[in-house]
Symmetry: C2
Subunit: 413 residues, 2 copies
Amino acid sequence: MAVSALDIDGSQVERLILELGAIGAHGGTGVWRTVYSPEWVEANALLARWFEGAGLAVRQDAVGNLWGRLPGSEGGKSIVSGSHVDTQRPGGRYDGALGILAAFVAVKALRERFGQPKRTLEVVSLCEEEGSRFPTANFWGSSAITGRTRAQDVDTVVDFDGVRIADAMRQVGLDPGRIGEAVRDDIAAFIELHIEQGPILEAAGLPVAIVEAITGMRHTEVCLTGVQNHAGAFPMDLRNDPMAGFAEIASGLIDTAHRMGRPAVTTIGRCTVAPNAGAVIPQSVTFTIDARHPDLDKRRHLYATHDALMREVAQRRGLGLESRVLFNHEPRLSAPHLVALLKGAAGELDIPTLTMASGAGHDSQQMAEIADFAMIFVRSKDGRSHTPEEFSSIEDIVAGIRVLASALHKLAY
Amino acid sequence: MAVSALDIDGSQVERLILELGAIGAHGGTGVWRTVYSPEWVEANALLARWFEGAGLAVRQDAVGNLWGRLPGSEGGKSIVSGSHVDTQRPGGRYDGALGILAAFVAVKALRERFGQPKRTLEVVSLCEEEGSRFPTANFWGSSAITGRTRAQDVDTVVDFDGVRIADAMRQVGLDPGRIGEAVRDDIAAFIELHIEQGPILEAAGLPVAIVEAITGMRHTEVCLTGVQNHAGAFPMDLRNDPMAGFAEIASGLIDTAHRMGRPAVTTIGRCTVAPNAGAVIPQSVTFTIDARHPDLDKRRHLYATHDALMREVAQRRGLGLESRVLFNHEPRLSAPHLVALLKGAAGELDIPTLTMASGAGHDSQQMAEIADFAMIFVRSKDGRSHTPEEFSSIEDIVAGIRVLASALHKLAY
């Protein structure tokens, strides 16, 4: 059945968003709430009160994720929904937090309307998805759940001020030696609602998307070296100019992704020139390539095209080319049965959706290690995120929560 | 006549180069000799002894240029040769210093062989051509001679450590209030021998070039602004990516100069990206354009083509475009009669030459304000300069000095 009659009160949702967003408030609409900070402690305490008030059993796990549990009458593996409570420095009120509130509102409404489910439902507030305090530790909370956190990480990971994550954990009452206890092997499905963080829904005029894949992503650092020389005295035809090579390569890579069409993306976000002087042909240009595609074959083709273009340009221009892969994340496919379930729920509710790949990374891609997953995207104003200006309307948010609640109902009741 | 029999002793020239290069020696072949430093004082003191030993009347002018004068029997305006004694930090033994030594060796040999000239010959050691101590004061010595230094400059120009140039002058016994006294209005011709600093002579297999023009040069700083967004969540077709615009513009500008052919050059030497993060579509890319051409019409065409391309790309890609001209130096033409004289002298001496424009700036372009000028270039190994590795062979240097001496003979005897 579609829980079309399930009452999701928009003004109530808005109140929750504002109340949670007040913890770590930064300027007008900003939120600055990093993991294991006083604001993080306060936010999870508020969520714990809300969870308890709605009849959920609350516990904090060994890494600091907060769980609210509604046990099912038939036991078995859990159906989980949630997202991360940490923000950028500063971020806004929606990135992460909205997924926790959506899960809470949905499970609370389901319990009030339908009572105890057959299968166990859980709401989760994950920690340090962003890596905004510990830059090498993004997906810290979800990685602990899937067992991908290594025991030694607690002693090697440090924040921007040099504080070890083990010490930050102790400060909030967590024992870093017990981080392994956060592992779960009893989650059947993870459904995460999140803001889109892009302009696709807005451009399409739709409130909600069903995410069928999380893109694969490769970050490469490339250094092109030439021969540093006098900008006036060296004729163009005798130069080995790494800036000329970089410009041709950057144009070519960006054009390649553009011509391949959505959802291929390639971004040159960082570029450093040496010696970086106006009247000197550079010695070297170092840059990063962020290239993403959720389809394995097309991704391989995108990367191969990029690599071949760089080799060809460097060779033709007599430039040295060194490149190293900083990281390479495989794409993750949503579970087809969950995608179908979400599409079906939206259809029954007459909520128009599109199906898309996520170009951003999410906790869901970690949860994919141990559970089926799918995601719901809610339209972002101007496609913005990671900024106090990020915004989604209450109408769109309620539409997303209704799809989520309907899917959880189908799975758990 | 060609002074083909004039003896220029290569080993003697080499000894002078090494002895002057030892003052401020930096590593193996480097020289670090900035204006008004102890090394600068010591270098000019050595030159003064050499000038006096060769029978020249020595004086230091109000800005610190050192002059060695061989009075002519008929008076009138002087025929001057020389270059700058200051170096990069570090530079090598040849850039600047070679032009002083060449003038000294030529005038000394002419006096020894032919006695007093009809017209006055002068050798000059100019100061702070490079701007290597006072970055805003390049051509400081030659500008004082032509009267282009403003009185207030002595109080506003500061070095990398914040020392005012007035105080640096006082430290070496110069009165900054008297800088106006360095002005000369009695120079008929200035002939400067300099290393090429480029690869054109080496590529042509020739020792010496006659310089018919000093290129015109424009430095422009350009800022392209787009919309900063998530590198994963924003499709290529909805981006306003200033890096894509920059890459297309840089490629186009460099290709334009390349296609126009020698001596057009365009260099993108400096580029700064904000926020410069791997996974973020940049907000802005700021870069400099160094574009040069010695021909007024072609230079206008080069700049117009550059400007039109930038406007077109920025408009098509929806990017903000701000550009400001940092400086714009007009080209300077050598005096045709001096170019003809130098070519004729080289021909009589059977020294093969080519005629070219200088792509670098030189004191000669300042002296052009008050005198006819021409330059002689000596082949640079690998086209290098502004580095301890710069090198020219004694054979090539002697060839250049012979052309210089012959031209000075024709002008002054």
